[in-house]
C-alpha cells in the first residue's frame, strides 16, 4: 500500500526496474500516459507538455511562465492518477511533484556513464563519444530543469529515500531492494497520509484551473479548506474570488475557499 516514484536518467535501466517492481508488487505502472491524461483534461498539445517537463525553461519562457502552467496540468493529472495508491510511477520529477506525501517511496536509479553511453551508442547507432556527450547534455538539461523550477539538484541524494546504482548491483537486485523498501511500515498508507494525498489532489486541481489566468497563485488545501494565496495584491484577489466561485462545484472535495493576498504563501502550498 504505497506509491513508488522512480527517478532515472536516460539509459539508466530505471524503466525496467520500475516495470519489474510493479509486476512483483502487483502495482500499476504509470509513466508517460500521465501526459496523455493531462493533455486530454486540459486540452493542451501533448508535445508541449513533453517539452515542458523535459527541457529547462529558456529565458523567454521564464518570463512567460508557460512552462509552469503545463507542469501544473501534468501535476494535477499525476496526483489524481496515483491518488488511489498501489502505483509505480517512473518518469520525470515524480519525487518533486508528489512532495509532502508520506507514503511515497522516492527512488533514484543511477548507472555508470560508460554503461549508459554504450547502450545509447548501440541503440542509436552512433559513436561512443557522441553517445556520451549526448547523455551528458541530457543530464545537464535535467539538472537545469529541476534547478530552475524547484531550486534543487536532481543528483542531490537527500531528495530520495533510496538511490541504487545499477552496475554491480543488477537490475534484479535493484528490484529486490526497492520492493523490500516498499513493504516497510514507514511507507504504509495511513488515513492521515491518504488525507494529505486527497488535499494535494484538490490543491493541484484548483491550481491547474487558475494558473493560466493567475500564474502567481499558490494553493493549499487542508481537509478540503482551500486557501488561495495571490502574491500580487488586493485587486487581483477580487478577480480570483470571482473565478473560484465556479470551482467549488466542478472540483470535488472542496469545503471552503478563501483568497488571501498578503504575507507569504502558507507553507506546503503548491
Amino acid at each position: 500500500m504505497c506509491i513508488i516514484t522512480i527517478s532515472r536518467g536516460s539509459y539508466s535501466s530505471g524503466k525496467e526496474v520500475a516495470e519489474k517492481v510493479a509486476a512483483c508488487l502487483h502495482y500499476d505502472c504509470v509513466s508517460r500516459d500521465i501526459l496523455l491524461e493531462a493533455s486530454d483534461r486540459y486540452e493542451v498539445d501533448e508535445i508541449k507538455l513533453v517539452k515542458a517537463i523535459h527541457d529547462a525553461p529558456s529565458i523567454l519562457e521564464r518570463r512567460g511562465r508557460k512552462k509552469e502552467t503545463y507542469i501544473a496540468y501534468i501535476r494535477s493529472a499525476l496526483v489524481s492518477r496515483v491518488r488511489s495508491d498501489n502505483v509505480v510511477y517512473h518518469g520525470l520529477a515524480g519525487h518533486l511533484l508528489l512532495r509532502g506525501i508520506p507514503h511515497v517511496v522516492k527512488v533514484r536509479i543511477i548507472a555508470d556513464i560508460d554503461r549508459r553511453s554504450a547502450m545509447e551508442a548501440q541503440r542509436e547507432g552512433i559513436t561512443l563519444e557522441k553517445a556520451r556527450s549526448a547523455i551528458i547534455a541530457d543530464d545537464e538539461q535535467r539538472r537545469k530543469w529541476t534547478q530552475s523550477l524547484y531550486g534543487v539538484d536532481p543528483w542531490d541524494s537527500s531528495l530520495y529515500d533510496l538511490v541504487v546504482k545499477v552496475d554491480r548491483l543488477s537490475i534484479a537486485d535493484a528490484v529486490d531492494i526497492v520492493c523490500d523498501a516498499a513493504k516497510r511500515e514507514a511507507f504504509k498508507t495511513t488515513p492521515a497520509s491518504q488525507q494529505k494525498m486527497e488535499d494535494l489532489v484538490t490543491a493541484c486541481a484548483v491550481k491547474a484551473a487558475l494558473i493560466e489566468e493567475f500564474p502567481e497563485v499558490m494553493v493549499l488545501s487542508e481537509y478540503g479548506n482551500v486557501i488561495i494565496h495571490s502574491a500580487s495584491g488586493g485587486r487581483h484577489a477580487q478577480k480570483i474570488r470571482k473565478a473560484v466561485g465556479a470551482l467549488e462545484t466542478t472540483i470535488g472535495g472542496i469545503n471552503s475557499i478563501e483568497v488571501h493576498a498578503d504575507g507569504n504563501a502558507p507553507p506546503g502550498s503548491v
Binding site: I110, W155, S158, D161, V163, D167, L169, S170, D180, A186
Partner: protein, 274 residues
Amino acid sequence: MTIIAISSDSYRMGREIGEKISKRLGYRYLDREILKEISAGSGISEGKLLKALEKTPSALGMSARDQAVYLAHIEKKVIGEFLKDNVVCHGLAAHLYVLGVSHVLKVRVLSNPEVLGKELAPGKDLSGDAMEKLIGRNENARKRWSLKAFSLDETDPSNYDMVISLNKIEINEAVKSIAEAVGYKKFKAMSYSLKCLKDEETAAEARTILFPRFPDAQVRANGPTVVVITKGMKREKQKKALIIKEMVGKIPGVNFVEVHIVNDILRQAAESLR
C-alpha cells in the same frame, strides 16, 4: 573476504549501522578505533590522524603534505585489514580509496536532518531554516575535504552502489537491506579484485614512504611493479628518480620501480624569470 564500506553524514549513525551489520553478518567491525594502532605503528599522534580524516588542509591548520602522509598511513593499514578478513568499515574514508575494487559494497547512509542537526549543534534548538543551512554547510565541508584529499566527491551518489536515506527508512531496515545486498554474487571477492586490493595496499605503502619528501607524487602499483609519477626539473630529474627507486624498492614484494618525471612547467617558468 567481503567488505562493506559505509559512508555517512553522521559519524554516530554510521557507527550504529556498521556495528549492527557486523553483528548480523559476524563480520569484523572497523572504525576510528584503529587509529590507535596506526598511531603506534607510524609514530603519528592519533589526534593528527583524526584531523586528517575530518579537516580540509588550510594555511593555518594542517598542511596538505601532512594530510597526504597521514591518510596514506591510514589507507595502508585499513587495506591491510581488508585483506585479512570479512570487514565492515566505517568512518575511515575507505569508500574513497577502494573505489576501483569491485567486490567492496559501497553504501552511503543519509541521516534524518533533525537528528543530524541535533548532532551538529548539540544542545541548541534550531529553526528549520537554520538547521538546513547548518546541514548544507556540513555537507559542503565534506565535499571540499573529499575533493582535496582523494579528488572524489563524497556526496556524489554515483560513487556508491546504494544510498539510503534514513528520513523514513528505519535503521534496522537499512541494516537489513545492506546485509542482503552484500549476499549478491558481485560482492564476493574474486582473484582479480583481490589483486586490485593488494596493489592498492602496495601503493599506499609506497605513498607513506614517498609523501614526506615528494608530496606531489602519484603512485600506482601493479603486482610487483610500482609506477611513480612526479614533477621535476632538468638536472633534478635523474637524482629524484634514483632516490625514489631506492626508497620504494625497499618495500617487500616490489621488484621493479618505474619513475616518470614530468616537467615542472610552473617552476621552470618561475626560475627562468629570475
